[in-house]
Structures are given as C-alpha cells and as structure tokens.
C-alpha cells in the first residue's frame, strides 16, 4: 500500500540552521492497517507526513502508493489517493464557505471538476445523513459558514470529509492536539469508527503515547528522522506507556552512545 523508501529531507542545507529532518526514513504500511506514529519534537513526524501528502518534496528517496510512484506528484494530484485531516481545525476547512460547500469540495476530491452544480439536492441529503451520525446537530446547519463551528466540530466534519471519497490512505496529523480533552476523545472515537467503517489504511501522527497505543494496530516511533521502533501484534498488545517510554529512552541512549563513539 504505502511504501516510503529511504527518504531524506534537509531544511536550509549548507547554512548554520541546517536541519536534517528525515535521514533515511523508510516505512511500509500494508493495505487496511491503522498505524500510529509517535516521536519527540523534531523527530520528523510532521515532515514525514508532509512528504507523503506531497506538501514537501523529498531530496531523495521514493514514495509509492499501491505501486504508483508518487515521489514527484504535487499535493493536488496525490489527493486522489490521499485524504488528510490537519492539526489546526482552521486548516482543514474553508471558513468562508458553508458546511455543505466544504463537504461538496471533499466530495469531488480526486475527480475532474466541471460546471455542474457543486451542491445538488441529492448530495445535500447525503451530507445531512452523514452529519446526523455525528450527533452534534450539524445536520440542521448545512448552510451555516463552517467558520461558525467550534474546533472540535470542524475536526469532526473534516473527518467526515476525508471519508466521503474512497481513498487509499488517510493521514491524520495530530488532529486532536488542538482540542480540549473531552472533545479530543470524541474526535478520536469518531476516527476509530470511521476508519473501521471504511476500512481505511491510516497513518495517525500523535504526541500522546497513550493515544498511540490505544488506537490502531501498529505503533511506529521516529527519532532523528528515522524509524527506531516498530511494534505490532502481541508485543504491542501488552504494552503500557511506561514500556514504550522505557524503549524510547533506550533507543535514545543508544543513539547518544553512537554519537559519543563517533566523536571519540
């Protein structure tokens, strides 16, 4: 499904603020798998996600989705295969447009847009039914500007929008990070439900180890632009946040040792 091979991205190369964000990052995600991605600040989580979505061009390496080479495709072309929910609730929706217009935009993701009406009555009914499943009363506010909604409501609608069209890969970029704990939990439950319903291949970046272990079936840890830990199946089942933290410390320790060796 997703195959990322030996990705390298360096910001500001050749300057004092040079940052090697991805250093040989590789990850394979088979079809239908729900992977959670964790790592400390600067580990390369967001950079990797942006590389997969196409917002960042990789310096070297290869990105394939279902065997199709995506490495050089711009964001809007990849959107045919990739759906995305952003961390910032403002980023994933158009605040000037209404709820139904936002959904109509997502409805056409990966399709040629013509001169047909964007919102047709049949489509409106479908949106209404979809919104009703959220239980937020949004089904009666189709023609409200989406800017009037709270952050949690907007994230919930973003998730619905991501699932309107069958896509091969769903990218979630710390999409509950900007929400209060209760809303975050609601959005997370909704995520699990939508992913299960549509059997989506999903990659969720999170900064919460708890979240990373609670949802999905595989957890990947990034450190210094590489995968340093990859747990799934039985090993992951019994795992606690403490275990994960211990593994993280060990990995980081080894890395420091490596550096010390190099310097020595």
């Amino acid at each position: 499904m997703l195959r990322a091979q030996d990705l390298h991205i360096t910001f500001n190369p050749g300057t004092p603020i040079e940052t090697r964000a991805l250093r040989g990052m590789s990850l394979d995600i088979p079809s239908g798998q729900f992977v959670t991605v964790i790592g400390s600040n600067g580990a390369g989580k967001s950079t990797f996600l942006n590389a997969v979505s196409g917002e960042l061009r990789v310096d070297s390496g290869r990105i394939e989705i279902d065997g199709i080479d995506m490495t050089r495709q711009p964001v809007w072309e990849r959107a045919r295969h990739v759906a995305r929910v952003f961390q910032d609730p403002m980023a994933g929706t158009c605040e000037d447009l209404t709820i139904e217009e936002n959904m109509a935009l997502a409805e056409m993701r990966g399709h040629k847009r013509g001169l047909g009406w964007a919102v047709k009555p049949a489509l409106r009914e479908e949106f209404r039914a979809q919104l009703a499943t959220l239980g937020l009363g949004l089904e009666n506010r189709l023609s409200d500007r989406i800017g009037l909604l709270s952050g949690g409501q907007r994230q919930a609608v973003s998730l619905l929008m991501a699932a309107l069209r069958p896509s091969r890969l769903l990218l979630l970029d710390e999409h509950t990070a900007a929400l209060d704990p209760r809303t975050a939990d609601f959005v997370l439950q909704l995520t699990v439900r939508i992913v299960a319903e549509h059997k989506l291949t999903t990659m969720m970046v999170t900064h919460s180890m708890r979240q990373a272990l609670d949802v999905g079936e595989r957890t990947v840890m990034l450190h210094q632009g590489k995968v340093v830990l990859d747990v799934s199946g039985d090993e992951r089942k019994g795992m606690t946040v403490k275990d994960l933290l211990a593994m993280f410390e060990r990995v980081r320790g080894e890395q420091i040792d490596d550096d010390a060796l190099l310097l020595g």
Partner: protein, 296 residues
C-alpha cells in the same frame, strides 16, 4: 442635479459595476491584490476603439476587448504562479507594461469614437433618446454578468476557485489545482474589466491612454461601499452589493461635483474618491467599536 447628469452617473456607475465585480473576484474571492485593472480597463477601451475606428463590427470589437482583458489577467496570474513573483508586484508590472502596450495598440494617446458606430448606436431605436437607452442596455449587461458569476461560483469549478482564495492548502488537499484556479480567476476578473473599458470608450466618445488611472481605487471603493451597505457572506447578495456599491458611489461623485455650493471641480475627483473610500473603510470599524462598547 438634472435628469441628464443623474442618468449619466447611473450609466458610468453601471459600467464601473463590471469593474467592481472583477475587483471583487480578485480581491475578495481569490485574495489576490490585483492592480492590473488600471491597465486592463484602458486596454479594453484601446482595443475596442481601435478596432471600431478601423471598421470592425462594434460587437466583435467588444468581444475582442474582453478577451484582451482576460489575457492581461492571465499574464499577471502567470507571473505570480509560475515565476513566483509576489502577487501585488506581479500586477504592478503588468499594469505598467500595459501602459506601453495600450499606446502601441492605439498608435496615439487617444482614439475618438464620435461618428463611428458603437454597440449602443447600432441598437439605437428612434423612439428612445440615447442617454436613456445606454443605461437600459447596461442594466441588461450588468445583470447578465452578475447572474453568470453567481452561477459559475456555485459550480464545482467555481467552488474550487473560491476555496483556493479562502484556504489554498485545504483546496490542494482536496485535489484542487490551485495554480490553475488563480489563473482562471484572474482571467475572469480582468475580462470583466476589459469589457467595462470597451463599453466606457463607446459611451464616452473614445479611448484615452489616461482613462485607466485610478480604476482599481474606484473598483475597490465600489466593493467596499457595497459591502458596508449590504453586508452579506452569501455570494448572490455580495454580487448585488458590489453592483449597488458602484452605482451609489458614482451618484455621490456626481453629487459632489455638481453641487456648486461645495465648489468641487472635475480635477477633485480622485481626492473625493480617496475620501469616500476612507469613510467607507472607517465606518464599519467604528460601528464595530460602538457595538463592542455596548456589549460591555
């Protein structure tokens, strides 16, 4: 003010409501600060007047002028999208380039259209005077433009264009080719301005190289006046507001210039424009300020 000046103001207001619709597309929908209009307005006039005076059909000349405006907008968009020149700067470059291009097209600083046929004179029946017919025809043109825009911006492509201006990152993530949308929007915007220039030249007796000076300010003034008169986020109301804004604005200008007791003359036009825009910009803020106070 006489009926004649009143209808004259209405007529010019209608022509500038096409400019205002164009400016609304670039500034408000695409969020592209586009000064190209100062060049594409006289471009439309120059193309139409030159073609008509060399014997072309006035309708054909008007269509060609509209297309010329679209091409100007397309180039500004291209400078921004492909060559990555900052939007405002790209439009300024296009604007000053058009000054030379317009002189080249006309071959001289102005092309009069006194005896030549125009789209208005061709359609002129004997029973109606020209200063009544022109506003009537323009009402039809403006309403047609308004409804076409309303329709276009509720289609899938139109919606993608609006999303591009509102949140380009999100639009791309939804598979919208945002660069193409900016190009299309700029072409559409400047096509309207080119059409306005062509009609302006045909109502005012010819094209002049300086006819474009301040077009952008007048267009923006119309948009801002319209938005303060009829504040609405709904597109079909916003387009009406913009048209009304352009007409109201021209009435105020005519009133200011024709009221002897104020003592203003034609050369004060730009000063009056600047003052009106300032007032229109400040009033909504003051209103907010006052209502904010009340809330406390």
């Amino acid at each position: 003010m006489s009926l004649y000046t009143l209808l004259g103001a209405f007529e010019i207001g209608l022509i500038f409501s096409l400019v205002a619709l164009g400016v609304y597309i670039s500034f408000r929908l695409l969020r592209f600060p586009d000064l190209t209009v100062d060049g594409s307005f006289p471009l439309g006039g120059a193309v139409a007047a030159t073609l008509i005076s060399s014997g072309s059909d006035p309708f054909l000349a008007t269509i060609v002028a509209t297309i010329a405006g679209a091409v100007a907008g397309l180039i500004t968009g291209w400078l921004n999208i492909r060559l990555k020149i900052m939007d405002l700067l790209a439009s300024i470059l296009m604007m000053i380039a058009l000054y030379s291009i317009n002189l080249r097209i006309m071959g001289k600083p102005n092309v009069p259209l006194i005896t030549e046929p125009t789209v208005f004179s061709v359609l002129q029946p004997d029973s109606i005077s020209d200063y009544v017919l022109r506003p009537l025809l323009l009402v039809v043109v403006v309403l047609a433009a308004k409804f076409l825009l309303d329709w276009f911006f509720s289609t899938q492509t139109g919606l993608a264009m609006r999303a591009t201006g509102s949140n380009a990152r999100m639009a791309r993530a939804q598979g919208v080719h945002t660069g193409l949308m900016v190009l299309g929007g700029m072409a559409l915007s400047n096509a309207l301005v080119g059409l306005a220039g062509a009609l302006f030249a045909q109502t005012q007796g010819g094209a002049d190289i300086s006819m474009g000076v301040g077009t952008i300010v007048i267009g923006l003034a119309a948009v801002i006046v319209g938005e303060s008169l009829l504040p609405s986020r709904r597109l079909y109301l916003a387009t009406i507001a913009v048209v009304v804004g352009a007409i109201v604005y021209r009435f105020f200008i005519a009133l200011a210039l024709n009221s002897d007791f104020i003592g203003l003359q034609a050369q004060d036009l730009n000063l009056v424009t600047a003052l009106l825009v300032t007032v229109a910009l400040v009033v909504p803020k003051l209103r907010q300020h006052w209502s904010g106070r009340k809330g406390i």
